[in-house]
Symmetry: C2
Subunit: 261 residues, 2 copies
């Protein structure tokens, strides 16, 4: 029933009171509920959150620091009052994709599903941080194509294999080298680097010093700021200066609500 | 590779600048980015959004009004400044679950995946409206078990088959009756009603008048209000009255931020 074969699954899909005890809580405002056939638009949700939805897609070898930079970035965004979701192997491989292995077709399906989930988050206005090795270029490009370019920010963790292997935070490279893990990216499975990522994070800074996760997160934060993801369209001209900060939330403008939707 | 067989898939899984041109946008605040191994907690995200994540799970026959009530509820929540996600056949069957059909095993996998996606949304603090026929009790109960009771609000659209069939908004009952659609819930496929749903929405109100979608949405909104989903834990005592309203957003309290996380 499941079409997981490479030739099939890799095509983009066509676009396409009864018992309630709370009646005493009803207010006049709630009497104004009106019938709607369609849901709330993405633009309205983004205006409410005062941000633009997008996915920051981290790709790179195991041990390249994807999740560490993603977590550091998420905390930095939180301090600015930004609503985020963090998707990684921990919450995807044990949940949504617990029935997938690591063959090429299953890796493709893994990334396809993650792409579809990030699309749902982005349509809710959430800035979504996706941290996956995602070794095949075609898988990442299919997600990019499905999302639309503006919603997809590819971050390439350009960390040499020898650096990742020397870190080996989970001891996986050691196991892969002695053959106890098969199909390990970078050892006996390929990694295809992005050709035109939005952001490349090098192991060293221009002065030749090793870059910290904080410095890397700062680069991405600057990108999001510069490209308008941290402001709503309605407030592009209203917000001066580069940062609202979490403490500035109380002063944030309430977006004009469109009751016609 | 995919374990879709009923006996396997239905068990709950164990728990478990390089090139960036935006450097000139960095501010002093951004220098304070600190290293984090784990992401931002659910509680922190909920405090930021001033709401509690949960899924409102609509179950019922085709034509019972699940999506209409869900859309109406979503707009009502939006007017109160609540961040929501709406998941239904339109955005799931054409995206995440485009490779699933309608056999019992595939319906089970459909609901399992939707459950996992709603869990991710709920952990982001989003109030998630899931509108699916979800005819099998075990599938819904597995989602409930995976989410935790407090996060799962089952709404049973208790609308008689003859009413749904007389509406037949998509002409599907007609096709099912003449055999052009097989395995149609309520006709030649079973629907198992919930035994203890949090909310039951009857076709008529206690006075015997047909209930409108607006009245049904109002019941769910009252439930969410009564059970504290529309307030953060930090503001339980601070917020008086039953509703903040969208226009009250500017006055909403900024949650105390926990920088230790």
């Amino acid at each position: 029933m499941l079409a997981l074969g490479r030739s099939i699954s890799r095509k983009l899909p066509a676009h396409g009171m009864s018992s309630c005890p709370g009646a005493q809580y009803l207010t006049a405002r709630e009497q104004h509920i009106t019938w709607h056939e369609g849901g709330v638009s993405r633009e309205a949700k983004e205006a409410l959150l005062h941000q633009k939805g997008c996915v920051v897609w981290f790709t790179g070898l195991s041990g390249s620091g994807k999740s560490t930079v993603a977590c550091t970035l998420e905390h930095a965004l939180y301090r600015r009052g930004v609503t985020t979701a963090l998707l990684d192997g921990d919450n995807i491989r044990h949940g949504l994709n617990c029935n997938l292995g690591f063959s090429e077709a299953e890796r493709a399906e893994n990334i396809r599903r993650v792409g579809e989930v990030t699309k749902l988050f982005v349509e809710t206005g959430v800035i979504t941080l996706a941290s996956f090795i995602s070794p095949y270029r075609i898988d990442r490009d299919l997600v990019r194509q499905r999302m639309g370019c503006r919603d997809f920010i590819e971050v390439y963790m350009k960390i040499p294999l020898e650096v990742c292997e020397s870190r080996d935070p989970k001891g996986l490279y050691k196991l892969a080298r002695c053959g106890k893990i098969k199909c390990f990216t970078g050892i006996d499975d390929p990694y295809e680097a992005p050709e035109r990522p939005e952001i490349t994070l090098d192991v060293d800074d221009p002065q030749g010093r090793r870059q910290s996760p904080e410095a890397m997160a700062r680069i991405i934060l600057a990108y999001l700021e510069e490209h308008g993801y941290l402001r709503t369209p309605l407030s592009n001209n209203a917000v001066k200066g580069p940062s609202r900060g979490a403490a500035g939330l109380a002063q944030k403008k309430v977006p004009a609500l469109d009751y016609s939707i």
